[in-house]
Amino acid sequence: MTLISAFLRGFVSILQGMSITLLNLVGRRKITLQYPYQRPNISPRWRGIFYLPYNDEAGRLNCVGCTLCAQACPTGVITMTKMGAGKHASVNEFTMDLGRCMFCNLCIEACPFDAIHMSTRFELASVDRGVSLLAIDKLAQGGADAVERTRRTIEAALEQEAAAKAAAAAAKAAASAQPTEGTGA
């Protein structure tokens, strides 16, 4: 008797289970994405591959080479060399080793100049380790061209600054020379 009732209970539960499965089979849209052909709808906040924003108005990358991001990084992903000095500074080289990156967002939060961003690009797989080592021409928005333009902007600004300094020094020298002449006369 218990065997029969157990069998009946099992049968009912199979029917219940099958009805749920059937509802899911016919009554629902497929949730599976055929990935390489269908692209996922990625959130704009997605933490993907990095880029260094290029400022069109200023004609340069936002980065000033302050190394705050490199200091904030827990795994030492970022290395950079500075270019220029003072107000007119940017980076010569800026390398990120994404093979070590945790995509933790700490570098972006550390940056006071809004100079490093994450894109929605996420495909990092490669057969060569070198591919995940991103140099500045890969990272800069606008590529090598943007880096070159930044270099020119910085150099021009530095020259201008040097010229202005020289002119100011000359003017100062002239100004300090004149009063002595004045007293002499």
Binding site: G10, I20, M102, C104, N105, L106, E109
Partner: protein, 374 residues
Amino acid sequence: MTAMQPAVGASTSSDMTINLGPQHPSTHGVLRLMVALDGEYVKSCRPVIGYLHRGLERMMASRPYRQSVPFTDRLDYCASLNSNLAISQAIERIGGMAVPERAQCLRVMLCEMNRIASHLIFFGTYAADIGATTAFLYAFRERERLLDLLEAYTGARLTYNWIRPGGVASDMPEGYAAAVCTFLDGFLKELDAYDTLLTGNPIFRVRTEGVGIISPEKAIAYGASGPVLRGSGVNIDLRRTEPYDAYPQMQFDVPVRTEGDCLARYLVRVEEMRQSARIIRQCLREMPEGEHWGKQPKVFRPAAGEAYSRTESPRGELSIYLVSDGTANPVRVRVRGPSFVHLSMLPELVRGVKVADMIAILGSLDTVLGEVDR
């Protein structure tokens, strides 16, 4: 064979030693169980751990405090926001930081969403361990929706690193509350269907009822926590007994079962998903206005001392102990993970049971090896 000494009874020629894992679908990670079998029965079992050891405690101790948060993502990777919360609380306590009210509420919401995601993994993989593939696929479908929501908030799908010392890294995106509510409505309906599909299934019940019974005394003696402890009839939930963040304001029930078997632990987790949904709704309804991030010192060098934070992760009590000597890096970071404690109960629980029951018991403990090995 020499390394394996069965704990009870003398080894006879009919015994067989097998290795379950390190790569086995039911070990949920890289866990190796050295099992001595007498026919279909388990004579003894010895878990071999450490395959996933990365030295996370030392790595955290050799970096400035705030850089240790992303490493906690790798502890319990099924619920990394809960691990973020544990270390953030410890750092806040050692540095005396205040957390704004809105940030507290956002934290609770994120943690409960992660709790549902984590319990859905348990639900799915436990069903798969026992042999029900359909429930596994359904659970992962719902989890996918939840991960999409977490992705919209944090930008990551597994290692979020979004709860930080002093608050939460960002506020909610626009229209987020409505999206979460829509998900919860659908999710609760799905959960009822899962109950019919799996909880009511006689085969599932036979496989779990009365299997792997943990008495309340034994659970306490081992230091069990979370659903394993509450499945044994001990009503301790740190969200209730030592509430932190916005939990004191939240109305929720703590599910407790007295049976102490695999089914009890399973039912506690399923009911917890419903309660988590309730908490998330309350958070969204009563979200205070204000900042999501408190004021923070630019250079963080807490005074010499120590701090201990206890949190209720989906697996149980996750605690972090920090020692500071006044420099920028902690001297010691110690993680007390629930999975390690629960795994240590396994040899005693599986002695004398059948192999298939051992899988059911291991699954019901819901261990995550990232947290066991650290």
